[in-house]
Symmetry: C2
Subunit: 357 residues, 2 copies
């Protein structure tokens, strides 16, 4: 078997710290038969500071050549006044688009060990296990035309374009239906078809597609109602599929419902299951460099990478079980700490997972 | 003083039932010095069924001539397969746009009597009193070009345009700053300035505007983070101001946090405080015609109308106090019912408020 190449892109804020812990885990498995090589690349603000662009050619080439990508996070206050075209976020958006990573899988799972951490009442979220499938390379994130222009009367006008074609909707729909087929068999497609023509087409296309999946039940929901229902009764959902922008908003909302956002991994996949793996949470610049961030979402992202792209399901299981074990042992970074548990640092948490493998 | 003309637009689903109760309250005040006349108009699906359009000319004229509008709700399954251009929702969007009702005020308040109804833990939402100011006549709801076209390869593509100019951002910003000045003095402007140029302009314009308001503190938040923060710690917010689409999503999420969405009124105002008043909740077709819907949000919308447009603050107080009293008395429609309270119907609730005036 050939050595699998992993592009490691730590990025900004807490990115380097949390990625370092996931790397510890991967390297440990490397001593036990996992045949991977890691290559580092710059992305985001870190790349901008060093090279003047958030996505240097070298990083793009590295990512294209790699079998999978492990990403920390990008962005931070430091770069917020930059022009939008060179912001750290552009690095992330560039990789998603250039590598055609159109399917973003964002689980929202409540870890039983952390049941108390949710701001929602226990009975509303106990056992929550929802998968959000977000379209990631289209919609208003990438639509043209876009920009800021000056009108005849001298005032500025900003504009963006939300656009989806049938083939884009179909391919993300298929991902959602396939996943639902292996779960509870229910897909809820979220749109704003009562107002936006682009999502009217979304709804029609999903409805057509559903006819190919007799084992999956499709329902539709307007995005405003979906945001309400996530708060009211999140367990009604199995798989949600939605646009890039709505998925951004709803998946953050859903992950926060669990109280374990520091625990949630994500995958961004292309049509061949090549993927980029990253925690759902962001770069958290306010706590960067303090060795207090929770590395578990990144470690679990590495597990997802083993499962979905590297075909190493057993190793993935080992990581996930190790994470479960450290939680059972009461180890907690500060974001998930509660009375009666043991507060540990970022690196202590990583070490504990390695020890528990 | 001249008789004030109120356009009453019951609309669809539970709309007619809940509006009838608000009308009872207004008519009772009419016997005690409130000088108003009510005129009814068709809107939404009800209008479409009768006239073939969701916003008949007569309704538009009536609404333009009125001093204020009281609306129930529009929409329902029945009309979901109609072309988007004649859906019930178009009636509502048409009035907003034609009457220039650009400022949508959506309070999210937790009623102490209903503290237990929230799905969030008591300490997270106790005392919640947040005001969402949503831009209502611009953005992607109205941007051109829009539609569905067929591409050269035969597939369909749907597109919409998100567009904001400085003057639109300024005028909604001013509304938010003015309101914040009378509250805790904090405005959080919500955008996606790291991805969308239109909202980059939004952020810059808000930042400029804030310089005119030394008594108000402005912060910015990305919409995905805002959705998370609403779930994590909603009490951090005083006033939120945002775009039409983000406001649609976030205000529904925020109102559901309170557990009292059946209680929340809203106002949509033009530059002269002429306004349309309606409950935040929708037309709820599943429970229409059963006399079980909660009329309090509509009754409180009538109170908002008295306060903001008709300059009848004292009468508004009377309505709000009456609502408080029936809650204190333990009367509850089914949506807010809990053990130990008394279940009442829509019309019983309306009668109780009238009696408590
Ligand atoms: C950083 C930002 C561009 C990104 C997005 O909006 O997609 C992030 O919020 C995410 O959800 O991965
Ligand atoms: C009915 C619909 C067009 C409307 C909207 O999206 O604005 C509704 O959801 C609302 O929030 O008032």
């Amino acid at each position: 078997m050939m050595t699998k190449k992993i592009a490691v892109l730590p990025g900004d804020g807490i990115g380097p710290e949390i990625v370092a812990e996931a790397v510890k885990v991967l390297e440990k498995l490397g001593t036990e038969g996992l045949d991977i090589s890691l290559e580092y690349g710059l992305i985001g603000g870190a790349a901008y500071d060093e090279t003047g662009t958030p996505l240097p050619e070298a990083t793009l080439t590295l990512s294209k050549q790699a079998d999978a990508i492990l990403l920390g996070a990008v962005g931070g206050y430091k770069w917020e006044s930059l022009d939008i075209s060179v912001r750290p976020e552009k690095g992330l958006l560039g990789i998603r688009s250039e590598l055609n990573l159109f399917a973003n899988l964002r689980p929202a799972i409540l870890y039983p060990q952390l049941a108390g951490a949710s701001t929602l009442k226990a009975d509303v979220v106990a056992g929550l296990d929802l998968m959000i499938v977000r379209e990631l390379t289209g919609g208003i994130y990438f639509g043209q035309p876009r920009g800021i222009r000056t009108l005849e009367n001298g005032e500025k006008e900003g504009f963006n374009t939300l656009v989806y074609r049938e083939s884009e909707i179909n391919r993300i729909g298929k991902v959602a239906f396939d996943i639902a087929g292996k779960r509870q068999g229910r897909v809820c497609s979220v749109d704003k078809a009562n107002v936006l023509e682009s999502t009217e087409l979304w709804r029609e296309t999903m409805t057509e597609l559903a006819k190919d999946y007799s084992d999956v039940e499709l329902s539709h929901m307007y995005v405003d109602n979906a945001a309400m229902q996530l708060v009211r009764a999140p367990k009604q959902f199995d798989v949600m599929v939605t646009t890039n922008m709505f998925g951004d908003i709803l998946s953050d909302c859903a992950s926060m419902l669990t109280g374990s956002i520091g625990m949630l991994p994500s995958a961004s996949l292309d049509e061949n299951s090549k993927g980029m793996y990253e925690p759902i949470h962001g770069s958290a610049p306010d706590i960067a460099g303090q060795n207090i961030a929770n590395p578990l979402a990144t470690i679990l992202s590495a597990a997802m990478m083993l499962r979905y792209t590297l075909d190493e399901a057993e190793m993935a299981d080992r990581i996930e079980n190790a994470v479960s074990k450290v939680l059972d042992d009461g180890l907690r970074t500060v974001d998930i700490y509660s009375d009666g548990t043991t507060k540990v640092s970022t690196s202590e948490m990583g070490d504990a997972v390695v020890a528990a493998l």
